[in-house]
Amino acid sequence: MHRFANPARFLRLGAAIMPWSTGVAVLSLAAGLYFALFASPADYQQGESVRIMYVHVPAAWMALFIYTSLAATSAIALVWKHPLADLAAKAMAPVGAAFTALCLVTGSLWGQPMWGTWWVWDARLTSVLVLFFLYLGHIALNNAFDDPTRGARAAAVLAIVGVVNVPIIKFSVDWWNTLHQPASITRLAAPAIDPAMLRPLLLMAIGFTAYFVSILLLRIRTEILARKLRTLRYMQGAEAPAPAVAGERI
């Protein structure tokens, strides 16, 4: 049963990682919320509304990080046909879409009091909206075909095409005049954020990432079960269980 060998190894690895990632997620999110809402100062210009940043910015980072992972996973699926890659891509897309939606909603809630508008069509905001639609398109394509392998292939192509949007989002604030301000944290320079504000920001970012790891492991497990179900149903329908026609591509 070479087909199941890989998922079995993955399931063991996942079961070993899951308690750790979940623990890190719970602890970082609890500490992050404490610092974000109680033990951090108000901003000199934005007052208490700066606390929205501790949700908005980590959500934006997750939206980009998950999309980059999605594109990399899709490339692995298309080039090496790794049996788990399609399942991982399918498992992560809705989580990425949820973080992108959170980023857009909190950005709107922050923009209204600070900028004076819920939404503008500047390069940054528009490219993030495009990212959200890319996620939705990926989810839709994955479910659009009767044959799940065809759906996965179409979705993988979309994910790879959409990856050009990632640098556009990242550098939009530097390339064009936008209403959105440029990045505060760059690798080369000291961050333009006070340490007391950086702490909740990073804690929330670690918490979101660890949360994503746990959720992803859980969702890949679900996808593995779903694939087994399809195989078993196919074999049941075919009456005589022939191992060679398991309906799955290796």
Binding site: F4, G47, A98, T106, W110, L218, L232, Q236
Partner: protein, 63 residues
């Protein structure tokens, strides 16, 4: 210790700050519940279908 009402007012930005955090909590918990539900549903279906295929012993167990 700051006045509690003053704290919840968030310097006048309460209507923007609290919905942001509510949205974050809703997304994190919503995705978690949806993922757990579909895992349970698939496990249950798999168990049901395996009950009808007694000759297949499975080498790894989910959950």
């Amino acid at each position: 210790m700051r006045n509690l009402a003053e704290y919840f007012a968030m310097g006048g930005y309460a209507v923007y700050v609290w919905p942001s955090y509510a949205a974050a909590v809703a997304v994190l918990i919503g995705v978690l519940i949806a993922s757990l539900r579909s895992l349970r549903a698939r496990s249950a279906e798999l168990e049901a279908i395996e009950g009808s295929l007694p000759h297949r012993s499975r080498e790894e167990r989910p959950t």
